[in-house]
Symmetry: C2
Subunit: 247 residues, 2 copies
């Protein structure tokens, strides 16, 4: 069991923190991530899997655009998981996910992930409770397999308030740059907020052992970006990466 | 037939051009490419396929790192084509390539490509002349298919001198950041320079009809980046991209 209690965690930055204090730090992290990624790629010993989860409009796309703005596209891939295709439905829930894990040297970003299979599927009761429970165990084994093979798995939950979410969804109706993201169904899903929070809480309870979740207060983009950049920076730093010598 | 005559094209910038005059322009192109890529993605109507070819150490990796530094990793993929795998060898030469073409909204970069199948394979005589000739026709039909489906195909040949190449290959022996790229075989291949130039010339002669080649003088990175950023910028601009309205 993790000690994450989602309902007690604020979606806002601490009051003492000011945007201007942190933008410079975020910028420095992003730059350092870019440099370390070159070494990660050259060395080909480790890889990084970044899992982004959160409600609609919680800012997953923004994380990819901003936090990874310093990385070389040659060493970074993004996979968005949507409604499974017919072919995917004919396999176990990890089949389509396993195909997309990073090879050594690479950063792979999952925009949504295998956690949809224990969250949205639980909320809508598309699968029964016993199946969900088995899935938690399969997820833990799967993530452990990746870790043992040199992949560092970083899981981020972008924690927004329902009020902030609804504001952002409505913004998509009026801002031309955001209209393409508008989906009337998102507001329907938002009505199931409590069920989603419960499903996420259960996922954190069951899948935070070896590979912990990072809960990111995400009502303010600058704070979200700062926290995620910091975790990625510190993780890459801990690998003591270096350019390999002549072989 | 194209009117490209590789042997008459300089690998250097015109003498009148100065690095400092162009770095700002390149920066502005890169920024504008990033903005237009957001629209390309949102609109999902067109895609861009960037093909990078050139001798070892001609600077293909550098193009990816620099020219695409402003793009969102969510909308840009890179595929490096290496020695075909056993599975790939059991298919036609375009099979592994076709799988990697961009879906609508995306930018796909090919680091080497199907042109290896008419260049290195011709130089080493791994396939006969009649096969190579048929491949030119298949390549033209394939690229035309992509264009008809909304993909803009941009082909860049990074044109370096053999002297510059050898200098760069030797640099890999002494610069720790570059050692991981060193491959003794590259110097062996360099001895076949004339054969490679001939094979490239033939590819340009036969595969420059509907989808032209851009020959990029590449002894100076700043000039190479400027020219490629300009072509990509102008191509995206010509698509008159816009954010879609509410559907």
């Amino acid at each position: 069991m993790s000690n994450i209690q989602l309902s007690t965690i604020s979606t806002l930055p601490p009051k003492s923190m000011d945007k201007s204090d942190y933008e410079e730090k975020t910028k420095a992290y992003i730059e350092a991530i870019g440099e370390m990624q070159n070494m990660l790629f050259a060395q080909g010993k480790y890889s990084l899997l970044v899992v982004l989860q959160g409600m609609d409009a919680s800012g997953k796309d923004g994380v990819i655009k901003e936090v990874f703005s310093g990385v070389n596209p040659m060493g970074c891939k993004v996979k968005g998981f949507k409604k499974p295709t017919e072919e995917e439905m004919k396999h176990d829930f990890l089949w389509r996910v396993h195909k997309e894990v990073p090879e050594k040297g690479m950063i792979q970003i999952f925009n949504r992930s295998h956690y949809e299979d224990v969250v949205i599927q639980r909320v809508h009761k598309w699968v029964d409770a016993a199946t969900i429970k088995r899935r938690y165990a399969h997820i833990n084994a799967f993530e452990q397999l990746l870790e043992e093979n040199g992949t560092r798995v970083l899981k981020f939950y972008l924690h927004v308030s329902q009020e902030e979410q609804i504001e952002r969804l409505k913004e998509r109706l009026s801002d031309r740059k955001k209209m393409w993201k508008y989906n009337a169904n998102d507001l329907e899903e938002s009505k199931l907020w409590k069920d989603y929070m419960e499903a996420y809480q259960l996922a954190f309870d069951h899948c935070s052992g070896e590979v912990p979740w990072h809960i990111i207060p995400a009502d303010k983009n600058w704070y979200k970006e700062y926290l995620i950049a910091q975790v990625i920076h510190d993780t890459l730093k801990s690998l003591n990466l270096e350019y390999p010598a002549l072989s």
